[in-house]
């Protein structure tokens, strides 16, 4: 066995896994705080990326574009809370889930209505095909760069959750709505925070994925890759989203390269789902999810 080749595939897998984690993170934030699986997360990634790239195309400076897009995602969060979450408060989670499906189509349509659907080119100044060598293994520069962004985002989020008053309120809401209300934490404000944060995470994911694949409609389907990541990592865990992403990224690349020879290539596309299925059978709450204990 060629170990350098193995390392190359392995590291490549880890790095692309980070990209999946980035998308999964948005799901986890919303699921943690409200128990809702946000079907519209992929659409939010598309919307953020489209807004970003179109503003750049208009000649707005990069930093200002970033700031405006963050503002737009916060407005979107406020809109979602007012129009969708507030009227549906206390409804079954399945109803909220259905509402996010509607939201998904709304955002997809709205994004393309105002920004058009032509493919946007996002150049972050990093050559996609440049690589550097470690020993005999080639590591893609762009992927390393994306991993660094994702890593710092996770770090900032964890610090925010752990050490700020708002972060503590967010965790409180995630743990128990009733108790959070009783100590005076307003759910509606917290939901705006959560959806804004998920929007900003969607922006980062959109920019990174957009510069890899081009900013186009297909970006919203990267959300599909997040599902096995969530099942493996657990829906309620930020570290779970990271580890889950790494497992999926590594797993699919290694399977493609090493199992492909025996059972045919192209297994990259379904392998993560099979991993997820196995995890579901052994540990339904995911590797890092909270174990669900019901008193009977």
């Amino acid at each position: 066995m060629d170990w350098w080749f193995f390392i190359e595939v392995f590291v490549g897998g880890l790095l692309s896994g980070v990209m999946y984690s980035l998308v999964a993170l948005g799901f986890v934030l919303i699921f943690k705080a409200s128990g809702v699986f946000n079907f519209a997360q992929g659409a939010m990634v598309l919307f953020a990326a489209l807004t970003f790239v179109r503003l750049l195309e208009m000649g707005v400076p990069a930093l200002l574009t970033m700031a405006i897009t963050i503002g737009v995602m916060i407005l979107l969060a406020i809109f979602i809370e007012r129009v969708m979450l507030r009227p549906l408060v206390n409804q079954d989670l399945i109803i909220l889930f259905m509402a996010t499906i509607g939201l998904n189509y709304f955002i997809e349509g709205f994004a393309q209505l105002i920004w058009g659907s032509h493919v946007g080119v996002l150049d972050l100044g990093v050559d996609q095909y440049a690589a550097f060598e470690i020993g005999n293994a080639l590591i893609n520069k762009f992927d390393v760069w994306a991993a660094l962004i994702a890593g710092s985002l996770v770090l900032v989020l964890s610090l925010f959750f752990r050490f700020t008053v708002i972060g503590r309120a967010l965790r409180a809401v995630a743990d128990d709505h009733q108790a959070a209300l009783s100590v005076g934490i307003p759910l509606s404000t917290i939901w705006v925070y959560v959806w804004s944060t998920a929007g900003i995470v969607a922006l980062v994911a959109g920019v990174v994925w957009g510069s890899k694949l081009g900013v186009q409609f297909a970006i919203s389907t990267v959300a599909l890759k997040a599902i096995p990541v969530l099942i493996i990592g657990g829906f309620t865990s930020v570290p779970g989203a990271i580890i889950g992403g790494l497992i999926v990224g590594c797993g699919e690349k290694l399977a493609e390269v090493y199992l492909g020879t025996y059972i045919g290539y192209g297994i990259e596309n379904w392998f993560p789902y099979m991993l997820a299925l196995i995890v579901l059978m052994i540990r339904p709450e995911g590797l890092f999810g909270e174990k669900i204990i019901e008193r009977v």
Binding site: F160, F163, T164, V165, I166, R168, A169, R171, A172, A174, D175, D176, Q178, A179, A180, L181, S182, V183, G184, I185, P186, L187, E290
Partner: protein
């Protein structure tokens, strides 16, 4: 437990909350009918009654979660209007729940700190830098939380995630979180349910201490009659949504209607 000391407390008759002739129903079910109840400042008031008598409904009317269809609630002499659930804490009303509602992922200390939520100022920038105001604020609140931890004698578990604590201690942490609000009125929904004798005695002691040391007015629902008669200044009895008695523990104990309600006679 020194009960007599309590009863000698100088009777200062200031009404904190006055509930006038309220009726509450859910569809066809009449949960409360024409109930009058006042809460005096500084007292420990117990609401008792058989299952389904409307005790929890009453507690929710007091806290403002339920709005009665008929009648009014006055808070400190002023008519109380409909309030958002998260504003109840701001009025100075804290509560614990029948089924413990703690922030399970947090430690005991963090739970109590979160109880101070409404007293904290939010400034993301300062907090992020952990500087100046942000730092001073966090330290102040932490000190208050530590005082509550000392008071409830839970120093040894302050860093333990609450989900891992035994039931009795979880109840105690929940009480701590409610105290962290520095409430004027503390509502306890079955604070002793499911506890063993020792835990009950501890809880009784804490409730009395809170009342005496902080002057907090306490309204509690409890099934254990021994406990109720021991610690309450006043007892209100509900049966089928109607208040059938209201008075000192001794008065209530000898009331024929109460005896009937509990023994199922009549």
């Amino acid at each position: 437990m020194n009960v007599n000391a309590k009863n000698n407390k100088s009777a200062k008759l200031e009404v904190l909350m006055d509930i006038k002739d309220i009726s509450l129903s859910f569809g066809g079910l009449k949960a409360l009918q024409n109930v009058n109840l006042h809460i005096q400042k500084g007292e420990i008031l117990a609401i008792i009654g058989p299952n389904g008598a409307g005790k929890s409904s009453m507690l929710n009317v007091i806290s403002g979660i339920y709005i009665p269809q008929k009648g009014v609630v006055e808070w400190k002499g002023k008519l109380r209007k409909k309030i958002a659930p998260h504003d109840i804490a701001r009025m100075g009303i804290a509560r614990t729940f029948q089924n413990i509602a703690l922030f399970r992922g947090m430690s005991a200390l963090e739970n109590i700190l979160t109880g101070r939520n409404i007293l904290m100022k939010r400034n993301l920038f300062l907090e992020a830098l952990y500087l100046g105001m942000g730092r001073k604020q966090e330290e102040e609140h932490r000190q208050k939380a530590e005082e509550i931890i000392d008071f409830l004698e839970i120093q040894s578990i302050r860093k333990t995630p609450v989900a891992r604590l035994p039931y009795g201690l979880q109840k105690r942490v929940e009480l701590g979180r409610a105290l962290a609000l520095e409430p004027e009125l503390l509502l306890l929904d079955e604070p002793m349910a499911g506890m063993n004798v020792e835990e009950k005695e501890d809880m009784c002691r804490f409730i009395l201490d809170v009342n005496e040391q902080f002057g907090t007015t306490i309204v509690l629902i409890e099934h254990d009659m021994g406990v109720v008669m021991d610690i309450s200044d006043r007892v209100a009895v509900l049966d089928y949504g109607i208040k059938i008695a209201d008075g000192t523990p001794d008065e209530v104990r000898s009331e024929q209607k109460v005896i009937d309600a509990y023994l199922g006679a009549g």
